[in-house]
Symmetry: C2
Subunit: 540 residues, 2 copies
């Protein structure tokens, strides 16, 4: 059996049960029963018991997606080209074996619209068997997770016949926030055109059961967000004001594409640092730095001492709060360089007046607190990078602190401090996927245990999850996808699966197999190590 | 002027002179003269003085290629889509500026056929001006290099007009052997299908003026070469005997594609180690390892004590010598693990008989020397990895020793030893591009100086060049191209340009610009750092 498993693995096939990320509970039928599956005739539908039915766009569209994946991206037998696949080989070649005909979905709560949020219930139960497979869930979001699992249970033997093993699955995520950060400032990632990087990423996120897309949309190098209130920001701050921007339509497209896959979109407009590209389109917003007693012509962080700054932020974030429907906004707040503030005589005078002495962290806090008040007034919650907490800024109790620093002592200690103070923590420090190294570095990311820090059970409850970060210094549309997948999959499993799912060899076997599934789905995912998939990647 | 240069660079445009790799001598016309260029009407042709003319396939086809690149891949102005490019904007928008109408090529020696070799003369002179530009060279191979340079001299202003600055170039390579190693055993790289990785790589090699493709075609994990003499080798040793093989036609396709671009193809069938995949298709070839007094079922390196081994090698390399026309074969000889040989009682007995004692390097030498004799009998020369030299194998004086080990002391000392012994050296130790790291690692590769070792001028003469190596453990069709380009370009310039061309800032500027040129030519080359190209990569 181990031998057969290996043979099937070498063919890019594995028997049922090899789902990524690993479900919480999988029980294959002891009798080892299985049914054939005819991709052309298999049907997805709603169970009678379901509180949602035809017309529920999220599920209607998901049924079509998975139908198409089954048809186009089923594992192929050796030596078959695309033509062979189009002819649906495997149909009725073994009429004596039972046929699995349909999957019925039953959702308990009658909600079809709206967006997933932090409290969405993503659990589901899946029971596959001859004739009828059943997927039941509390919400449509859980049904989406179950559909993905179902699609991964289907495998194909060497003759090209599709099979589904009789399997019972009970599944739910370990953490509520399972995110991926992409950075569209350091390099522009296209939404349309031939390579739809940003929307395509949502597909693969859903295959991995990620549920948060953290859109680090602007930063020092460029400002691609086309603001209705301040159109000059992208006109003067984007790499190219026509080709390298995200229009309101682009943003809406990404948000809707993500929603249909059960993915939240959290935008980040990072201030007061990381705002160099804001300067040209917002005169007076950034602090003029001084060389001695005269302005040097260079600008630093947002100028925190002017009322106009807060008027600007009020307008900008009014727009951002509307455009991005998620309850949370990511407000940044990391890496504020005090050099420029220190050089500016008006800022020095302000520090005097406020009694801040030489403590520029107090000035930063002053700015951030006013910004948080603005955001609160729009009824939004916020996520901030850890410095905001480290600098003692007074934040609302439900603020999420994003732990990212690797060189400021072990990140576990920071998680302990944050949760001890009663704040919720989001972990990214060990998951900077942009920091590549030679070899199987997915293993390091995989072996992280987010709750391994000194703290009470209540503190552990405050860790809401984590995010894989792909910062853009060295990444653009040419290399994002292979660098991201399947490496980010390691983090996806850590955030979804049971704490006990840690076996590296088993993970390797399943992740290598999942990589082949991604190739069949047209995703340019890179290899874990020596080996092959059948078929290999062949474009989209 | 620096400001203008920066602005043009930011637009993905740079004025003439920004050629990669940097030519030996570039002189822009002091008057700064330039002419407009109409991609649709520009003509490539032969000068009357040329010893070759129409019908010379290498140049006829090169003219067509560069004509197409001009038309399809000219830098575009901001905001233009593919449609705009098809309409050839820039035609006749400035009729008052002189038009450059044609490039005439003059080749001195009347040879049109055959293959480039180690002695091919690749120098050329290029003089561009209004009406007529002239490219003259000793051989067709030099003309190819000059055509590439010419194509990189063309730039475009913000209005979309193509320009060519009046420029005189005298150019020749610093080293004769400028290679790239690709490994098609650890992962299969397709020749056909949608992604023609192996042939596509030849295109980009030519853009970089590389002239040797080192095809590490088989190794432990798989044997994709379809041998006429021993078809079982790939039938049982390839990942898939139908989809993951190189047929004779595939190999011929690669060799001819490379030849037309002035690139030599050197095959490597590495023995006696790295041969695990040979075993299933060649019973008796590999050494049976022993566990105590009985065979363990595992096999080690090629069995060097059997006559059948040498009969096999005689047949296989007879075929390989014919299929691969280059004078040189790479015979491998690296990393032979003696454990299995030591365990085998028949090998022990043979060692006794031969008086080798316990020195298994002597057994390795015994094997390699017989193999070299076989190769010599076919009138071929050979390249071997450094261990063959290190182990004191007696090789022909014209053998090339390939220096690759990084952990056996500084590679400079090995180069010194090899050349002191009178052998030619080929450098790869500092150029393992598969070993990725975070950041701008192209700089490390760029800063290598191949002749920086202790030795006489005669020794320095023996360094024939180097090779960038992209081993395949973590690389397949999904990530090869972005991982290779433009990083390998750093090595291309080191091997082509003058020793004095070392300025990192200038190299960054030109390489970033060259990367944008590669994108326009449809090559998925990754960014060096934060920034953008216009247009970005948009598929092929």
């Amino acid at each position: 059996m181990a031998g057969l498993g290996l043979a099937l693995l070498l063919l890019g096939l594995v028997p049922a049960g090899a789902v990524w990320p690993q479900p919480q509970l999988v029980r294959e039928s002891p009798g080892g029963g299985r049914c054939r599956l005819s991709p052309g005739r298999f049907r997805f539908g709603y169970a009678r018991s379901s509180a949602v039915g035809p017309g529920c766009a999220v599920l209607d569209q998901a049924f079509r997606r998975y139908q198409r994946l089954l048809r186009d991206a089923g594992p192929r037998g050796p030596g078959e080209g695309p033509e062979a696949a189009a002819a649906l080989p495997g149909e009725d070649t073994r009429p004596w074996e039972p046929l699995c005909a349909e999957l019925l979905v039953s959702v308990a709560t009658p909600h079809c619209d709206g967006f997933p949020d932090m409290d969405s219930v993503e659990s589901y139960k899946l029971s596959t068997s001859e004739d009828l497979s059943l997927l039941s869930s509390e919400s449509i979001w859980g049904a989406l997770r179950g559909l993905e699992t179902f699609s991964q249970l289907i495998w194909r033997d060497e003759d090209g016949t599709f099979y589904l093993n009789k399997t019972d699955i009970v599944d739910f995520p370990r953490f509520a926030h399972r995110g991926l950060l992409l950075d569209t400032s350091r390099h522009y990632l296209p939404v349309r055109a031939i390579l739809e990087t940003l929307v395509c990423a949502q597909d693969v996120m859903a295959y991995n059961k990620f549920n948060v897309f953290h859109w680090h949309i602007v930063d020092d190098p460029s400002f691609p967000y086309e603001s209705a209130a301040f159109p000059e920001l992208s006109r003067k701050g984007a790499y190219n004001p026509v080709t390298h921007v995200y229009t309101l339509n682009d943003v809406k497209l990404v948000i809707e594409y993500a929603r249909l896959r059960g993915i939240r979109v959290i935008s980040e407009f990072d201030t007061p640092g990381h705002t160099h590209s804001w300067g040209p389109g917002a005169p007076g917003l950034l602090t003029p730095c001084y060389a001695g007693s005269i302005p040097s012509g260079v600008h630093g962080p947002v100028n925190p001492i002017l009322n106009t700054t807060y008027q600007f932020m009020t307008e900008l974030f009014r727009e951002v709060s509307t455009v991005f429907p998620d309850f949370y906004l990511h407000l940044g707040g990391d890496e504020v360089d005090f050099t420029c503030w220190r050089s500016n005589p008006e800022i020095q005078a302000f520090m005097q007046r406020m009694g801040f002495g030489q403590d520029y962290a107090k000035l930063e806090s002053f700015y951030i607190q006013r910004l948080l008040d603005i955001i609160s007034s729009y009824g939004k919650g916020y996520v901030v990078w850890q410095e905001v907490f480290d600098n003692g800024v007074k934040v609302k109790p439900d603020t999420i602190i994003h732990v990212w620093r690797e060189n400021a002592g072990p990140y576990q200690q920071e998680v302990a401090r944050v949760t001890k103070a009663g704040y919720r923590a989001l972990l990214s420090a060990p998951w900077y996927l942009n920091r590549i190294s030679y070899g199987q570095d997915w293993q390091t990311a995989y072996q992280v245990e987010p709750l391994e820090f000194e703290g009470s059970p209540e503190q552990k409850e405050l860790v809401i999850g984590g995010e894989a970060c792909m910062w853009g210094e060295y990444v653009d549309v040419t290399n994002l996808t292979p660098r991201l997948w399947p490496r980010a999959g390691a983090i996806a499993e850590r955030l979804w699966s049971n704490k006990t799912v840690r076996d590296l060899q088993d993970a390797y076997r399943r992740l290598a197999n999942f990589r082949c599934t991604l190739l069949r789905r047209g995703i340019q995912a890179q290899p874990l190590f020596t080996g092959y998939c059948d078929p290999e990647y062949s474009g989209f």
